[in-house]
Symmetry: C2
């Protein structure tokens, strides 16, 4: 099977490496609008060939979009315009409502499968790609009833090759949940990094006094702005609600600190410790 | 050297294990007001003996307080009342202003050394203790000019045995900086956990969709409420300021999302990516 991968960063690059290594793809054709990424991916054998976006629909059996979510929405109709029978187009973006709405307006909607493999690191670009990124993680396929069953099957097989567990979900539901368990934590981390950098002008102090706890909490603040700015834009509505709830809870916590309500803080944190049980296995 | 360790949780237990194993302590005498912790520490050879708080000053050359910061403030004067020449009392709490003020009012202030080893995990109790917790981390000694030089030397040697780098700092400065690089990240993590648990009543959804990024950001929400509630109380003033700045930045981030200011978000996150360079080495 010839697989076209549009976007050769951490997500697309890791996918290409694993699909080739595990025999799912006989050939990987890469597309990236950054010529440095293209030549880096070729040099390190992440892809077998590169081509332009307008050629990939002619050359590949499966095309996978691993680009920022706003670019995905712009590129998908161009690919669906050219798609041929039996070809499957899959996107891997972190928001699903927007791209599904774009897809729904296209006559070739059934060739498209909307998916979101929940995997990543704080690093970006082809040099960050590695085999194993997806192993034992969850992937979500959205609105599968709007895709051809054969296309959904190809997508499932692809993710099973990556050792992922496949779940099905409505695209709107996906965006609502993911706002809380992924997007919100990226924002809390970015804003924590911002706040500490603003106050601690003398970086030495941060470096000296920050421990592994701070490093863990602020890790996601190293993530790619090019990837995350469009995600936040696309999931605006749910993120606005999530941030409102988060800020309200922070203000409550702050008030309890200011009024010396130590016992109430202890009880509240005791309840939140429940997260330990919920997170077991992640 | 006979070392008395008051508090046999993660911090005191790990300290006891390492000081014994590395030959700094000939004998470890443990004190804990939780009888289960005492017997657990005895059974697993974390301590050689246990005794009551009123006995430890008679039996030990060095006494180390590894208990919640409010308890530390209450216990320190009782120990200083009984202290004998050459004995050193060290505390390891995460706030330093409060305990130093208490110490400053005591005639035996010079036998006390205020310190804060910046190390820990999200786990608590003697069963969480392990040799190596402190290796290659930073420890801070505060207001060292108020302690006997010989007492400071004993404290330095103790931390050097643990392979820690020793820094000196004013206790007020310590509390101001640590509010940002440690305490604030515990609060952002606890409140993130709270917010997600409140919304995602169906835990299955969290479990299914949360990735390693969320797990990392929310890790500190597993921390001990008994340890952290008093820290937040003690560092109230600096935390109020830190939280105000954090909430203001969050509201700004939220507004940029709501107004579709994608380019501004991208620029802001690009600036925050600077944290990658600052954190190198943690």
């Amino acid at each position: 099977m010839v697989v076209g991968v549009v976007g050769l960063g951490l997500i697309g690059g890791s996918l290409a490496i694993s699909l080739k290594k595990r025999g799912f793809a006989s050939k990987i054709i890469g597309v990236d609008n950054n010529p440095n990424h293209s030549s880096e991916a070729l040099d390190s054998n992440i892809v077998d060939e590169v081509c332009g976006l307008s050629q990939v629909a002619q050359l590949a059996d499966i095309i996978i979009l691993a680009i920022p979510v706003d670019a995905g929405k712009a590129v998908l109709p161009l690919l669906l315009d050219q798609t041929k029978e039996g070809q499957v187009i899959i996107d891997m973006g972190s928001t699903k409502g927007g791209i599904c709405m774009v897809a729904d307006q296209h006559p070739n909607r059934k060739n498209f499968v909307a998916s979101h493999p929940i995997a990543g690191t704080e690093n970006a670009g082809p040099s960050a790609a590695f085999d194993g990124l997806y192993d034992n993680k969850i992937t979500i396929i959205c609105d599968e009833e709007k895709s051809l069953p054969s296309a959904v099957n190809v997508c499932k097989k692809l993710y099973e090759t990556l050792n992922m567990r496949v779940q099905f979900m409505d695209s709107q539901e996906h965006d609502r949940h993911i706002a809380y368990v992924s997007h919100l934590s990226h924002i809390t981390s970015f804003v924590l990094g911002q706040t500490v950098l603003e106050i601690e002008k003398d970086e030495k102090s941060i470096f000296n006094m920050a421990g592994s706890g701070f490093a863990s909490t602020v890790r996601l603040a190293k993530s790619s702005p090019d990837m995350w700015a469009p995600i936040f834009e696309q999931n605006q509505e749910h993120l606005s609600t999530a941030l409102e709830a988060y800020i309200k809870n922070l203000e409550n916590f702050k008030r309890k600190i200011e009024t010396g309500s130590k016992d109430e803080l202890r009880d509240l944190m005791g309840d939140v410790n429940e997260i330990r049980r919920v997170l077991k296995g992640i």
